[in-house]
Amino acid sequence: MATYAEMREIYEDIRNDFRYDHELNGCLNCGICTATCPAAHFYDFSPREIVQLLWTENVEQIYDAMQEKIWACAQCMTCAARCPFKNSPGGLIAIMREVSIKHGMQSAKDVLRPFGRVMLKLITTGNQLSPDMIQPDHFPDWGPNIQKVEGDLKTLRKAIPVRTLQTTDTAWEVSLKTSVEMYTIWEMTGVMDSLQIVDENLFDVIEDFIDEKREDYNDWLETQEDRKDD
């Protein structure tokens, strides 16, 4: 359990995000946000409650809500479209999630563990999912007819009449130079630091992958130089 001072610091981090004043303008407790919220149908979650906690600066209950409730939100932003005050409860939750990661909250680590596969794919390739992730053994609840034509994945992907899509381990072919530029963005914006906080092992795997890709890119650059010299 965090001390009051730690909880206050977490709240201040949320409050100091420059988006905060865009996302929270006041609240009359009308509950339109909760009435229209898909997550409120199935979870002990209410966007109205989150907004009220922030609006009243209830730092202890904000901390409690960050343990589990903020992860129920589906980020559809229906609440934001409906709020008469032009609040964005979904936007506030995005800020709270970022802050929970920054503070290394165990709840964030637990929630994100099963999402590691997507993070690995995204951070290394710039695509968030790939055809080889969407296979029947990964999604048994999608049923036996997950696709309508039998055949190996590689051939079926080759049958897509667009070169960029004839891939199996990325959604589309991303050039090596593009990937390397993206790694620089991750590093310069603190994304790699966040990843390290959430999952040290995943971070190590991704670091190795990035190093390898950078070497590949440098090798490619050298080949280009050699060609020029020739």
Binding site: F18, C76, A94, L122, Q128, I134, V162, T164, V198
Partner: protein
């Protein structure tokens, strides 16, 4: 009048003292005064007919859905972009005449330019990975209109996803990273024409993904409003060599593929349609991130759904002559939830079955549910089978607006529309449209043998994707 005299609750059922104009049957008097049950503080105006009409007109104007909101008080971020450009801080990638734009109206009646030509396809990871019939149908349409690959459109490998799926799912990432990714991709779109012999800005980005569309608009707003954010990302883009004359490139309009389909709908129907759609019952699910994020930028049309809901999707289905059927959960999200579809699937499948599939089947008896985004199509398409486990045996074919339009225009259900990747019963829709599913499937299976031999049919010369010539 003393405050106590306004106290509600003391209902007068005899309608005595209702003031001028006796209470009409069915209305409820609250406390013996006032009109139409609104309470004693509501008094008749005794206006002349002409004045009453004038007053009513004024009130109607005020409560019109497009002005009731903050439209008049809301900033149009694009105006600030021009100021920043004038100050020499940014370069605005313009939608020029060469992009042959069509003008549309957005939520508050503002104008938005939709470029129709010289488009840089900014792909969607969910579409390309899971529903490839989205981009293939779109490119097929462009070819059908005689667009020249490499000049009128470009699909290349120098792009990443917006990374917002991950951000909304996990909270890993931040405004700065999202902004840098946005600006990097859009810079590439701006300069991409050069290697093909064109000027800067030749190709205009066409965003395929709904979440990318919403995310990019939100991030553009933050970039315009925050000098600090611009300063931070300028350093990053500088390091990447992604500035033009030391400046950030920001697009005049952020344009979604479904907006292209929308403005081309009448040409699609009049020039390309080959199949009568009048017996097809269509329900529409518009992606939340299309019209609920930066909602002032979504397209509305007084002739579609009375201008009360975004026209996207509905308008193309109507242009094709299909029956568009309304349903009570139209505004609901699909249940995708970003992280939920991966690791909290009970929520995703329950919500989509309860609030979308079951309703489309029971209320609308839909032949098809169309959408305009990645996650929605995946969620609604893939989560029908599991409904049987809870006695919810409801099935509806699911596909994108552009896929349905391509079918109506004679595109091959497998080679182009790529329905083989869908789990929902699309074959039922295809058969109802008069297309022989089994024959098309048989032809495609033969084609797969050709593919194995390396004989692949392309929509454009594959070298183009890698910077080669058309």
């Amino acid at each position: 009048m003393k405050p106590t005299e306004q106290s509600p609750g003391n209902h007068n059922t005899s309608a005595q003292g209702a003031g001028a104009g006796t209470m009409k049957p069915g209305f409820h008097n609250t406390d013996g005064q006032g009109i139409a049950g609104h309470g004693s503080f509501f008094q008749p105006t005794n206006l002349s007919s002409a004045d009453a009409a004038k007053a009513t007109e004024w009130v109607r104007k005020q409560v019109d859905r497009r002005t009731l909101d903050l439209g008049e008080r809301m900033d149009d971020i694009r105006e600030h972009m021009w100021e920043l450009e004038k100050d020499g801080q940014i370069i605005v990638h313009r939608v020029g005449d060469e992009h042959e734009p069509k003008m549309v109206k957005t939520l508050f009646g503002w104008d938005k330019k939709i470029p129709t030509k010289q488009l840089w396809h900014h792909k969607s990871c969910g579409q390309c990975g899971n529903i490839p019939g989205y981009p293939t149908s779109l490119l097929w349409f462009m070819n059908k209109f005689g667009y020249e690959p490499g000049k009128d459109y470009l699909d290349e490998t120098d792009q990443t996803s917006c990374t917002a799926w991950n951000y909304h799912g996990s909270g890993i990432g931040n405004v700065e990273s999202l902004a840098a990714v946005f600006l990097r991709n859009f810079h590439q779109a701006y300069v991409s024409g050069k290697q093909h012999g064109f000027e800067l800005g030749h190709f205009y980005p066409l965003v395929h993904c709904g979440t990318s569309f919403g995310n990019y608009k939100e991030i553009r707003k933050y970039l315009i409003e925050s000098a600090e954010l611009r300063e931070k990302v300028t350093k990053i883009l500088g390091k990447l060599g992604r500035l033009v004359d030391g400046k950030l490139v920001i697009p005049e309009e952020i344009v979604h593929y479904s907006e292209w389909v929308h403005v081309m709908r009448n040409r699609i129907a009049s020039e390309l349609q080959t199949i009568d759609m009048s017996n097809i019952r269509v329900t529409m699910h518009v992606a939340c991130h299309y019209y609920k994020m930066v909602h002032e930028d979504a397209i509305y049309d007084a002739e579609t759904l009375n201008g009360n809901r975004t026209a996207i999707g509905t308008a193309i289905a109507e242009a094709l002559g299909a029956q568009v059927i309304d349903y009570s959960t139209w505004y609901d999200c699909c249940g995708f939830g970003f992280r939920h579809i991966i690791s909290e699937r009970e929520f995703t499948r329950s919500f989509t079955m309860d609030r979308k599939i079951k309703v489309a089947r029971q209320e609308a008896n839909a032949d098809v549910m169309i959408g305009n985004d990645t996650g929605c199509i995946t969620t609604m398409d893939k989560n029908q089978w599991i409904g049987k486990a809870h006695g919810q045996n409801y099935q509806v074919p699911i596909m994108a607006d552009v896929q349905l339009a391509a079918l109506a225009c004679g595109a091959d259900p497998f080679k182009i529309v790529q329905l083989q990747w869908h789990a929902s019963p699309c074959e039922e829709l295809v058969e109802k449209m008069g297309i022989d599913w089994n024959k098309a499937k048989g032809n495609f299976e033969k084609y797969l043998k050709e593919v194995e031999q390396g004989n692949i049919e392309y929509l454009y010369n594959p070298e183009l994707a890698l910077g080669g010539k058309a």
